[in-house]
Amino acid sequence: MLGPMVQNLVSGVLVGGLYGLAAVGLSLVFGVTKFLNVSHGELLMLGGYASVLAFNSRFHVDPFLSLGSTIISLLLVGIILYQLLFARMVKLSEEAKVKNTMLVGFGLSIILQNMALSLWTANDQGITTSYSMRALTYLGVRFPIVRVASLAIALVSLLALHLFLRRTFIGKAIRATAENWEAAALMGIDIHRVYLVAFVLGAAQGAHRDGPRGAGEHSGHVCRWPCPGRYGISDLLLSRGDLPGDCWPPALPAGVGLTASGPIRCQRGVAQ
């Protein structure tokens, strides 16, 4: 009786940590820029597809190795989206900004979902490596290697983000802008640059998360296209975007929430 419960708890924590990472990206964007990017989940999906494409290419790049290129491609996507769409809404009042970015994100999510559908079909995509099925066993509880490694990468990237925000000059500028963009602008901070960096960092956090995750789902439901919407929303609900300077708080409720819901879903085996 206790065995399965502990197992479920471990699985929940391992998945929940990854959700937490996604929430951090979103929370960073929302906290600093007040852009409510409801297409965040679709950006995660793009991260997932980038590593699937790398794996299915001629070179069979391992998802953990292609992480670098995945991050760079998501950085580019973030820059393009910011310059094309979001830069126009920087100077709006906060209420109008939240509403308009939300609507634009809503349209964007439809575009990205249908783009993914037509480019890569509605079929489930998976990455099956030689180590996909392996797990470490400790006291009878199994720790799937891929999940553990993904979580480790997630934690490292969280730490890196934390140090970036705390120790670098641009990190300081980001935190200042989050507190009060007008005051920050008066102090000579280039708001556009700060917004761009925050937005792009947020987008790239998605790459960390969904990239390696691909390897874990050996049965292959990595990039199920309806999922991103769900990720986006659950992340949104969990991350309140209150504390952009500290990236830890949003990760915690996300992880805990999924720890609780994870086992239920595992046991019932309910899709979606």
Binding site: K99, M102, V104, I233
Partner: protein, 319 residues
């Protein structure tokens, strides 16, 4: 009553007569009436979204939840042997019940939380209905034997007229003024004694009622569909898109938006298949960024431009 108003009323009467006579006038009956039913259903959806989204300023990204619940209640009761009108009313009633359930807690929060909450609500119901009621809702043989398109058409037409008419009466009443005051500034409205919560709730209930009734009409009209289908996010997106393309916060905007949307969608889906959704995604973003008042705003701009030009010509002629 001045001349302009008489003209407007005459135009309205002509439009209503056209709406009534339409099924007798068309040649290629089945496909044309089907298209008309789709247009009218979408007019109802867009106008009902507009009551809350356009006039009260609360963005509902899960309109499909109310629409879907309406289809579900109506279809299940109707299949149990209820006649269609009580089933329809039940569909609307269930949607209002959900609106109250969601609205009371959600409207205590401000800003984007209502939008996020409704977005999640739509997804939750979509997934849940898909898991619980998998399979299709097909009509049994005795229902099919008496199936006739014309009464469905009149139901949808009546519903569209009722929705637009109610919106008109509502926004010209004290309650409607309160709703618009809440949209322009909650604090200012509250300071004048307008209860933001009550007005937002009222708008949500009216919006949900007509969405639920539209769902009931859909359940009455469609022969076979998956129970999950009316809950699909695309219904929410369509409602928002139509209202924005036409012009939110106006009576005529959602009607224009719905006609434009359905006709363009039918043409595009013939040519592009599933890709037509991407086209509407792009169009929606463009409208939000560059033309927040939709077609109505564009029309007003053109009018003003033409007016200015003719005015300057008059000035020149006078010289």
């Amino acid at each position: 009553v001045n001349r302009k108003q008489v003209g407007l009323i005459a135009l309205l009467i002509i439009l209503l007569a056209l709406l009534v006579l339409f099924p007798r006038m068309v040649k290629n009956k089945t496909s044309t009436v089907n298209l008309a039913i789709l247009v009218l259903l979408h007019v109802t959806l867009a106008s009902s979204w507009n009551i809350l989204g356009g006039y009260t300023g609360q963005t509902n990204l899960g309109h499909a939840a109310f629409f879907g619940l309406g289809t579900l209640a109506t279809r299940l009761l109707w299949m149990r042997g209820w006649s269609i009108f009580p089933s329809l009313l039940a569909g609307g009633g269930v949607a209002v019940a959900l609106a109250l359930l969601i609205g009371i807690p959600a409207f205590r929060l401000r800003g984007a939380y209502f939008a996020i909450g409704t977005l999640a609500l739509g997804q939750v119901l979509y997934a849940t209905v898909g898991n619980v009621l998998y399979g299709a809702a097909g009509l049994p043989a005795q229902y099919l034997a008496t199936y006739d398109l014309v009464p469905r058409y009149y139901l949808c037409a009546a519903l569209a007229v009722l929705t637009v008419g109610t919106t008109y009466v509502l926004v010209n009443s004290r309650l409607g003024l309160g709703m618009m005051a809440v949209r322009e500034g909650e604090d200012a409205a509250e300071s004048l004694g307008v209860s933001a919560l009550r007005h937002k709730l009222l708008a949500l209930c009216a919006s949900a009622l007509f969405a639920g009734l539209a769902g009931g009409a859909f359940a009455y009209y469609h022969v076979s569909y998956y129970y999950q289908f009316p809950f699909a996010p695309v219904w929410s997106l369509d409602s928002v898109t139509m209202a924005y393309i036409g012009g939110t916060g106006t009576i005529i905007g959602p009607i224009i938006g719905a006609v434009f949307f359905v006709v363009v969608r039918e043409i595009l889906s013939l040519k592009l298949g599933e890709l037509h959704l991407m086209v509407f995604g792009v169009l929606f973003i463009l409208v939000v960024l560059f033309l927040p008042g939709g077609i109505v705003q564009a029309w007003k701009r053109v009018q003003r431009l033409v007016g200015r030009r003719s005015a300057s010509k008059e000035v020149q002629a006078a010289r």
